[in-house]
């Protein structure tokens, strides 16, 4: 199935259904069957399926659409344009950077396109722990399949792996650890390694080039630069959403807000993201929160990375951003991946200053970076609202049990690097040596010397803040994504996951959103 827009009038009609910041010149009022809030992977799939089912859909997005010429090559400047809070959002409690995108296509515009179905054990855990009957792998597989076919999800080909990814494969082979090329929503990757700043080749099938155009073709309207601030409701029914037009890159508060808007709808699908959806519910009169679970149970996949320096050139600039992975340690609570990012961003974790730091920069051409993400379902937090702001406060604390998994993962990464022939590793962990040259020395990474505050972590997979639960007293939504407390309010983002899924969440979120959209279409 192609998402391509048809020629001539079809293209123009689709263009006419898009609204961008420059077109707004006064208050806006509109009506639809369904308004979908948020155009990330979940919202885009929901909008497409609902429009395809013949529903009148408005897809609302706070960020602007990016064309290739709007991409910023500089990683730092790119983040300021595509991420909430300029890419500087941090958790409190255990300090960790976390990034949420604000752009048409949401995180898919600037993620590395990893698509993975969680193992059966994850769904079994969800079913038994959260009174879920239909959220099984078997039930969701048709939705995974449909999305996989639409987006062309396929393993990363060897031709664009580049040496830094293939070194990981070789290391796994040497140690007898299973590994495989990462499956991604990419068609025709050229190996530029710039997934995080936007794919200039447009090989990555981010939502702005795939599901959103397909939704437009199916008749949906797309309104960008609209920040939803209120879900309007009456009794047990929502009646629509309201908010303001926001100036692109203004942060969406205060002076960045211009004309008001109001959209009336028979149903609302919230896909604003795991950190924004609870804020919106709370600011709409603590909506859908009879359970008291809105904003609670915040979970991440905290990640750690190590840079390995090899004796000869790795040429890391070429290759898929994240091309190889190992699922061999999922039962121990972590997943291994290769990783690349704009070098200035990677170098932020290098220790020291002066000539010593510059010498590390000079080693970048001989470097590879591999990371681990941890299934940290014991580390919990909360999304809180902030006065006069749509940005949340994120409280989160790393559990000692999950810290132990992170430590173990660091040693496994070190083991792989030395198996691959690295001459040294840069663990980027405060309180241990800046560089380590043997596996024996690397074992300190699995010791009490490594504390939560000494780790340089990142947590960009966020979950559970409006969790799905069969019991209305313990969760916010049911298995169809409908809020227990309201008849026509649905949530379709990773906030509904009952627990973190142990693997990259995009495909799972989309599969759940597709199932919800088909159910909702049948109810309208």
């Amino acid at each position: 199935m192609s998402s391509g827009i048809e020629l001539g009038d079809g293209l123009r009609a689709a263009r006419d259904r898009v609204r961008v910041f420059a077109q707004y010149d006064g208050p806006i009022e509109a009506e639809a069957d369904v308004v979908v809030v948020g155009s990330g992977p979940c919202g885009a799939v929901a909008a497409y399926e609902l429009a395809r089912a013949g529903k009148d859909v408005i897809l609302v997005e706070e960020g602007p659409p990016f064309t290739v010429r709007d991409f910023e090559l500089d990683g730092n400047l790119s983040m300021t344009r595509t991420m909430r809070e300029g890419g500087l959002r941090m958790t409190r409690g255990t300090t960790m950077p976390t990034m949420q995108a604000v752009a048409l296509g949401g995180g898919s515009l600037v993620n590395s396109a990893i698509c993975l179905r969680p193992p059966d054990s994850v769904f079994e855990r969800w079913a038994s722990g959260f009174d879920l009957e239909r959220t099984t792998r078997a039930d969701l597989d048709p939705h995974f399949d449909a999305i996989g076919e639409f987006l062309g999800i396929a393993p990363t080909p060897d031709a664009v792996q580049g040496r830094r990814n293939l070194l990981f494969r070789d290391a796994c082979e040497k140690l007898g650890v299973s590994s495989e090329p990462i499956a991604r929503n990419v068609k025709g990757c050229r190996g530029s390694g710039e997934c995080f700043t936007g794919c200039r080749s447009r090989a990555k099938q981010s939502m702005d080039v795939s599901y959103v155009p397909a939704a437009l073709r199916a008749g949906a309207r797309v309104m960008t630069s609209l920040q939803v601030q209120l879900i309007r409701h009456s009794g047990r029914r929502v009646t629509g959403v309201a908010g303001h037009v926001v100036v692109p890159f203004s942060g969406g508060s205060g002076a960045g807000r211009t004309h008001p808007f109001r959209i009336d709808a028979k149903a609302v699908v919230l896909a604003a993201g795991c950190t924004a959806t609870p804020v919106l519910l709370r600011q709409s009169g603590n909506l859908a929160n009879l359970s008291g679970q809105v904003g609670r149970n915040l979970q991440f996949h905290p990640g750690v990375a190590i840079a390995g320096v090899f004796p000869d050139a790795v040429d890391p600039q070429f290759g898929a951003t994240q091309g190889y992975q190992s699922l061999a340690f999922l039962d121990q609570g972590f997943k291994l991946e290769t990783l690349w990012a704009p070098p200035p961003l990677l170098s932020m974790r290098f220790p020291g200053m002066g000539a010593e730091l510059q010498a590390r920069y000079a080693e970048l051409p001989r470097m590879a970076v591999w990371d681990a993400i941890v299934s940290a379902n014991r580390s919990l937090g909360e999304v809180r609202t902030r006065p006069w702001s749509s940005n949340p406060v994120l409280h989160w604390r790393l559990h000692p049990g999950d810290l132990a998994i992170l430590r173990r993962a660091l040693v496994v990464i070190a083991e792989l690097f030395f198996a691959a022939g690295a001459s040294k590793i840069l663990p980027g962990v405060q309180g241990v040596a800046d560089q380590i040259t043997s596996l024996g020395d690397a074992r300190i990474l699995d010791s009490p010397a490594v504390r939560p505050e000494s780790l340089v972590m990142g947590g960009n997979h966020v979950f559970c803040t409006t969790r799905m639960h069969g019991d209305p007293k313990k969760g916010v939504v049911d298995e169809d994504g409908r809020c227990h407390d309201l008849e026509n309010l649905y949530i379709a983002d990773t906030g509904i996951f009952p627990q973190c899924p142990s693997v990259n969440p995009m495909w799972t979120g989309m599969a759940l959103a597709r199932r919800q959209a088909l159910t909702l279409a049948g109810r309208l």
Binding site: L11, V20, F71, D74, N76, G252, S253, G354
Partner: protein, 237 residues
Amino acid sequence: MLEPVVTGLLILSAASVLAVASHRRFVGGYPAPPPGLAVLHRGEAAFIQAAAEVLFPDGASLPVAGADAQLPLYVDRHLSALPAAQRLQIRALLLLFEHLSLVWPAREPGGHGRFSSLPTTARLGVLERVADHRDFRVRLLFTALRAIVALGYLSHPANLSALSLAPFEIQPAVSDAELLFARIGALPMSIRYEETDRTDPAALGPLDLRGPRHLAFRFQERFPERPADRSADRNAR
């Protein structure tokens, strides 16, 4: 009758003296900033330049030293792009570091004064004390400062090019997004693409590791043209 007036005048005088003293302390005495700054004031620019000189000294393995990397202009561009709240946080950090050595002088000779006025060894001493502090929250301040400066330093075209890490030259693609959406800030009528302009990345194949790098990174200067033109120029290529 006169007492409130006298009191008022005294308060006004005291406030004026305080304002002048504060101005001299916090704003005055700085060299002229580089032209083209949009957000940074001259004191902030002087601090960034002073920090860059010690964080990235001359004579190391990269072609451009911190002093020559035009980092005030880079940081200014970064701050300009940030939402107001985050811009304020970074400016507070710059203010803190610039004046830290007034209340916590460096141990090295000449270590008392604003950071940007200290000799090099004293500046290094200030940064090392913060970087090595036993409280991780204090160390985090150094990490944040270093990141702000280092991002601009390593992304300097000459430095990235010297490491063969400059982005590849890629002909901008035309996908559904380019067919449907105007550039940010523009009206839909500005879209010039038609279906026939659509490109297919699969037909182009993998990039050549030894192939050309992006034009903007072939310059040896960060701002080879007027700074204000740079963004538009770079994005247009």
